[in-house]
Amino acid sequence: MYQLLRFFSRLKVFFTFLFLELIAVWLILNNNSYQQVAFLSSANAVAGNFYEVRDAFTGQFNLRNEIQQLQQENANLRENNAPLDSAAYKKDSLKSNYNYIPARVINNSVDYEDNFLTLNKGRNSGIKEGMGVIAPNGIVGRIKTVTDNYAAAYSLLHSGIRVSAQLRKSKELCTVKWNAEGTQNDYQQAELLYVPIHIDIQPGDTVETSGYNAVYPEGIDIGTVSSVEEDMSDGRKNVKIELLVNFNNIKNVYVIENYQKSEIDSLNQLVNPSTSP
């Protein structure tokens, strides 16, 4: 027994190393589950506060640009709103399933293989895990962790994010993934996976969300097709798309709440019990 104790005390540094390293590895492996500890993310109150202060300083330099973007969006919305006004008497049928929560990006990166955003709103504003995040001109990501006042989100530029998409003209289904094979950490490009060879797809086509996963509504822009190559070996097309959102410069986003998400999720669970939301 004494020998054993002496053995351990001689190696206590090594065992501490091993123990702490195991904790680190455990944290890494748990990183991509929604059950992750909230305070170990950038939604943490301290981190959120520092990022907010940083944003208050650095955000000043870009205000003119931001106002222009928001004005452009306003103009587009006004234009789209005019025909809706005349149809307002059919109020019930116009009722939306989605609620848009405006938020500001206070931290963002594009240079890593897994990129995240931090938003300045959290649970108190109605944001929950798993909600979609969009910018005026396209999708941005998906909420990962929420604390009372901040939220951390997976960017579309994250190795674990795949978005169910479709071609606007033919409604053919496909999947958008960033940094898949042909593109290396380029924040302006992504790829379409699983495009069968018979599908007609041309450079310039618009890719939009399919609305099948209850995260994003149908028809939100993702990008435009930039190149198409036929791969005869596996009968698929290699398609690259140009993302519409400039990820290097996103400030104002909307978090999407789907009023029917729980309903859709529980239905999916019934149909296919192996996929948990």
């Binding site: 206590k12 540094v13 501490t16 190393f17 702490l20 390293e21 904790i23 680190a24 590895v25 455990w26 944290l27 890494i28 492996l29 748990n30 990183n31 992750q36 500890v37 305070f39 170990l40 993310s41 950038s42 943490n44 301290v46 981190a47 520092f50 990022y51 940083r54 931290n107 990166s109 240079d111 890593y112 293989e113 897994d114 995240f116 931090t118 990962k144 951390a152 190795s159 940094n179 094979e181 290396q184 950490n185």
Partner: protein, 178 residues
């Protein structure tokens, strides 16, 4: 370590982390060379500092950076690895006749060459862990290795610059005093 030193290391901790997550995080060259200069904090501990305590501090520093980077565990694991191998690195680099008592791991005490090799070897352990663990695609090992090496150069250059600046500042101060 007396009480004054403890306070100094707490201040330095806050300073290094904030520098890293609010400023250096957003600096990189072409998505290839990144700077993780916060490891300079862990490398600045006295050569005879308790390894057990050092490992625990490394874990805390790593986790703090991880919180800001949204990468729980990656920087913590890298820091622990680096601190664990520090004894070996110091042993390999020992000058003939060994270290003198009270030597600090700095340019002032042990010279530029010693410091540069010490920092770049340690940074290599740290950066290799960070980049290889966070690499999502194992087909791009060459790219990850390139990133690691360029980032080691970047981090080492920044830490060496800090050392040089503090040296010339000290010189300037002592000249003023005279």
């Amino acid at each position: 370590m007396n009480q004054k030193n403890v306070f100094f290391f707490v201040y330095a901790y806050i300073l290094y982390i904030l520098l890293q997550v609010l400023f250096l995080r957003y600096v990189n060259f072409g998505g290839l060379a990144f700077c993780f200069a916060y490891i300079g904090y862990l490398l600045a501990f006295p050569l005879d500092f308790s390894r057990l305590l050092h490992l625990i501090i490394a874990f805390l520093v790593g986790i703090s950076v991880d919180i800001f980077y949204d990468s729980p565990g990656i920087h913590a694991g890298a820091c622990i690895l680096m601190v664990y191998f520090r004894k070996r690195i110091i042993g390999v680099l020992a000058p003939t006749g060994g270290y003198e008592a009270g030597n600090q791991p700095s340019v002032l005490d042990l010279g530029s060459n010693w410091f540069l090799i010490y920092v770049s070897l340690s940074a290599f352990f740290h950066h290799a862990f960070v980049f290889f663990v966070s690499a999502s695609n194992f087909k791009i090992v060459g790219n990850t290795l390139l990133k690691t090496i360029l980032s080691v150069v970047f981090t080492t250059a920044v830490l060496y610059f800090f050392q040089r600046t503090s040296l010339s500042y000290n010189k300037y101060k002592s000249r003023r005093r005279r």
